[in-house]
Amino acid sequence: MLKAQNNPSASQNRSAGSEFWAGVREEVPLIFGVAPFGLVFGVLGIESGLTPWQTILMSSILFGGASQIVFAQLWAAGVPALIVGGSVCVINLRHVLYSASIAAYLRHLPLRWRILLGYLLTDEAYAISIRRLQHEPPGSNQHFHLLGSGMLLWVSWQFATIFGVLVGGTIPDSWSLSFAIPLTFIAVVAPILKTRADLAAVMTAGTIAIIGQPLPWNSWLIIAAICGILAGWLVSRLNHQAGATS
């Protein structure tokens, strides 16, 4: 007890509410990118032949932007269900990394908390809350930060999807709104390309995505993605070895 009182970080322990609202506040700038993306998904889902309920519920069942877009596009192209499912799963594998990186801060929590925060662990919520967890003093309520950032993202994504479903039919084709999808991904990918291994992954995935177009069942996407991952990984391995031997 005395020890806790003397511990300066304990006296600075922030309340659950203050952690939660800090998470919400810090997430706000990312919503400007997420909202148009969700809107585009809503429009695209309907255009792909999904029903409004399928489109809207996919945003809470999958809750992963890129994978939802791919799901709708492949489904619309009449791709076999196994390829649709496989492509979606490969795209979402990256979450294992976020889960591993954030586990040390959450593993002591009760199961219901870990299930809830796991469900809310998206690219955008992770990006904001890992900064607080790593760089600010630990606190017993620090998980409320991820709850705040994750819930704001979830609510925004659902509303953007619903809005897209409602207005979809009224947006003229000449606006080329579906072009916002590659643009969104350019905004994600371009700034994070740093190493030769990254470039190898990009060149390989991009090239195979084009020359693989004639492959059956739109399997070019999953094949290009896997080859790009392998190329980047191999080049990073070679660089590590070159660094170790020189």
Binding site: A81, C89, V96, Y119, V189, A205, G206, A209, Q213, I229
Partner: protein, 104 residues
């Protein structure tokens, strides 16, 4: 069928998020797997970006010089590198595409 695939992929996606938070797995994934997973976003997203820009939506052939999407994407890449903001990148790319489609 679509509901089955949606729920199955939804459960898989939840598993990718929850797996390291479960108490069953106490170790971090091996370093080679962490390295490989680090390339998932750029490989997947590039495989979506490149055909969406290069292939003509009408007939799925490769379009280069008469392709407004290619030039709009180039401007968007510059905007992304300079501003690092999603909303600016989308705005620059869409406005460039509208102007180019009107002019070309």
């Amino acid at each position: 069928m679509i509901w089955f695939i949606m729920i199955a992929t939804g459960l898989f996606t939840f598993a990718t998020r929850f797996i390291m938070l479960s108490n069953g797995i106490s170790n971090r994934p091996p370093p080679w797997l962490v390295d490989a997973l680090g390339f998932v976003p750029i490989a997947v997203l590039t495989a979506i970006i490149v055909p969406a820009i290069l292939l003509d939506p009408a007939d799925q052939t490769i379009a280069l010089w008469d392709n407004p999407r290619l030039f709009a994407a180039a401007l968007a890449i510059i905007a992304a590198l300079v501003t690092r903001q999603m909303i600016t990148t989308i705005g620059v790319g869409l406005v460039a595409l509208w102007i180019l489609q009107w002019a070309m």
